[in-house]
């Protein structure tokens, strides 16, 4: 696979994502369910951080807040050094368009678009000129090994190939942050390994930070840090060196 050129680099001292004292509750009828209860987290450029924990531990809520598709009840979300907790919907949309890539468990590709068009869409949204878009799409599809599938529709691809398209779509705009929700959950073991290798390889080349929610032990082993959540609180943090032991 070809490496991605022109990686985006932030000043080393500035974290890509800084979450401070995040609180979030949901109302289910008369019941108030606390999803996050004071979570602090920092993510550096090029770092891959895994969120793990049982269902209802707050992983998805944390991803939503970090991805600016939801707002915390309390606390601060600081993206690339800028506090974005209280920005408006339009500004948040433009910030997501510019700085954040998403990888979903079930790929969420647009079925009527070809692979190339799916990958092209974020660049089109950002107003990148057509010639540059074509070049960058070809480049990233080559990087994820799908150059020959550019004209195919997603339904003509295997699950692993679709997730590689989703990764290409998330990375093509060279985001600072990639939010991935169970990216390997729909994949078999071999394919999951390939997708993980790809995420690490392409992500590191671009300097993108990954925030990944997962239960997948293979993925946890490959992350730089693993944050275990329980009942909306950070239970434990393992570094790359220590979580091998923890996983054992």
């Amino acid at each position: 696979m070809n490496p991605i050129v022109t990686p985006l680099k932030l000043p080393e001292t500035t974290p890509v994502l800084d979450l401070r004292g995040l609180h979030k509750t949901y109302r289910l009828g008369k019941h108030v369910v606390p999803a996050l209860q004071g979570v602090d987290l920092t993510l550096q450029a090029g770092e891959m951080l895994a969120l793990t924990g049982p269902s209802g531990s707050g992983k998805s809520t944390l991803l939503n807040l970090a991805g600016l598709i939801d707002k915390p009840d309390d606390g601060e979300v600081i993206l690339r050094g800028r506090t974005v907790t209280s920005i408006g919907e339009t500004e948040a949309t433009l910030l997501r368009r510019d700085a954040i890539g998403f990888v979903f468990q079930s790929f969420n590709l647009v079925p009527v678009m070809t692979v190339a068009d799916n990958v092209d869409y974020p660049l089109f949204l950002s107003g990148v000129p057509a010639a540059e878009r074509r070049e960058r799409v070809a480049q990233i599809l080559a990087a994820v090994g799908l150059a020959e599938h550019a004209k195919h529709r997603p339904d003509a691809l295997s699950g692993g190939q679709r997730q590689r398209v989703a990764i290409a779509r998330a990375l093509v705009k060279r985001p600072s942050l990639v939010i991935a929700d169970e990216p390997t959950a729909s994949l078999d073991s071999h394919t999951a390994d390939q997708v993980l290798d790809l995420m690490r390889e392409v992500g590191h080349a671009q300097g993108a930070a990954f925030l990944v929610a997962t239960h997948d032990a293979r993925l946890l082993r490959r992350c730089d840090r693993v944050v275990a959540l329980l009942d909306g609180r950070i239970l434990d943090v393992h570094t790359e060196a220590s979580h091998e032991l923890a996983m054992a």
Partner: protein
């Protein structure tokens, strides 16, 4: 709006081809129905306008009192010095012919039976030359300007008096002095106007015979025939300015039947168009609503990736445009084919109420009607789609992504 959005909209309409085909089909039927009904109404309006203008003249010149109140005696408000007036009117470049007309009422008798008549004294040669075959002659011949003492009877009147060509009849009418005068005439021909009530009363005779009967040199009005319908209003302005002592009416001022039919048809076809428009809007709305619900999760994905709600709304409006545009274009094609087919294979319509003659069914292919209908259909489809999409595209992204 980028062509990329249009391509996206086009691809989205192909997701559920059967649903899109049904939507396009109904939109096309609605468009065709509007164009055919509208084309038929236009054909009717144009036909009635031509008939009205041909009956009275594009312009009618008379004394103001002629158009304002009934006369106490025949030709009380008639025009004098007709030859000079006619010459002045004929000098106008748009004027093709000026026809004098003497209108009066009286009795007509075959000796055994008398009945009421409405008589029109005309210049037969000029009248038939300008109007063409405006009467359906059922028996005998048309009048000639060189012959005196001849009349043409409406078919109902001829039947009532048992008159045929060559029959001698007597006309009785008040003179301009109020005395009663009688004149023997011979039936030259029998005609049908297509309106049975008119055919029971109407008598045509030459101008000189009519003036002799009511003892006058006046005429009731002058009918001014122009080179085209479009010249009506400019010519009216010119003639009214040149003859300030006289009143100049247009054919429309005297076309009560045309006006009432147009008002009726406008309401009927307007209501029909509204109903069809509402049906098309409902069908497009329903199709788009289903498409949008099915794509809620995709909408969430696109929003997460940085698509603004307004961009998605416009994208759905474009889908509506594709559906409505395809439907209306197809419908316009159907309407054109039907309209041309009716020209090639004429269909006779039954006589309208109060008429005795049918008429060929024709549909006017009016570019303005086509363009307006197509634009309206596309605009309605776009608005309906945008309206349906507005709630889903602003739904919280987290909820949209969780949609199953």
């Amino acid at each position: 709006m980028s062509s990329q959005w249009l391509k996206f909209a086009w691809l989205n309409t192909l997701r559920n081809r059967r649903r899109s085909a049904v939507t396009v089909g109904i939109a096309s039927l609605g468009t065709a129905a509007i164009l055919l009904a509208g084309g038929f109404a236009l054909f009717t309006y144009q036909g009635l306008a031509q008939i009205s203008a041909r009956t009275t003249g594009h312009l009618i010149v008379g004394k103001p009192a002629q158009f304002q109140r009934d006369e106490d005696t025949p030709l009380q408000n008639g025009l004098d010095d007709v030859a000079a007036l006619r010459a002045r009117l004929l000098a106008d470049p748009d004027v093709r012919q000026v026809l004098p007309r003497v209108e009066f009422s009286g009795l007509i008798s075959n000796g055994d039976k008398s009945t009421v008549m409405l008589a029109a004294g005309i210049d037969p040669d000029a009248e038939f030359a300008v109007k063409g075959p405006f009467l359906k002659v059922t028996e005998g011949e048309v009048l000639q300007s060189s012959e005196r003492g001849k009349v043409m009877l409406g078919a109902g009147l001829a039947r009532s008096l048992k008159a045929t060509p060559g029959t001698s009849l007597t006309l009785l009418a008040s003179t301009t002095e109020g005395a009663l005068n009688a004149l023997d005439v011979t039936v030259q021909g029998v005609f049908s106007t297509g309106i049975p009530d008119v055919d029971k009363r109407l008598v045509y005779l030459d101008l000189a015979t009519a003036q002799k009967l009511i003892v006058t040199q006046r005429v009731s009005t002058l009918g001014v025939f122009l080179r085209s319908m479009e010249a009506t209003h400019p010519a009216r302005e010119r003639i009214a300015a040149a003859l300030p002592q006289l009143a100049v009416q247009t054919w429309l001022d005297q076309a009560a039947f045309y006006t009432s039919v147009k008002e009726l048809y406008n309401r009927i076809f307007g209501a029909l168009g509204l109903i069809i428009g509402v049906i098309v809007v409902f069908v497009v709305t329903n199709a788009m609503a289903m498409a949008i619900i099915e794509r809620t999760r995709e909408i969430g994905t696109l929003r997460a990736m940085g698509t603004l709600p307004g961009q998605l709304t416009r994208s759905f409006a474009l889908e509506g445009m594709v559906l409505g545009g395809a439907g209306s274009l197809l419908g316009a094609g159907v309407a054109l084919v039907v309209s041309v087919a009716l020209l090639m294979f004429p269909v006779e319509m039954p006589p309208p109420p109060g008429r005795s003659n049918g008429y060929p069914l024709q549909i006017v292919m009016d570019p303005t009607l086509y363009i307006a209908t197509l634009l309206a259909m596309v605009a309605l489809s776009m608005l309906a789609s945008a309206w349906v999409a507005r709630r889903t595209v602003t739904k919280p992204i987290v909820d949209a992504l969780a949609h199953v």
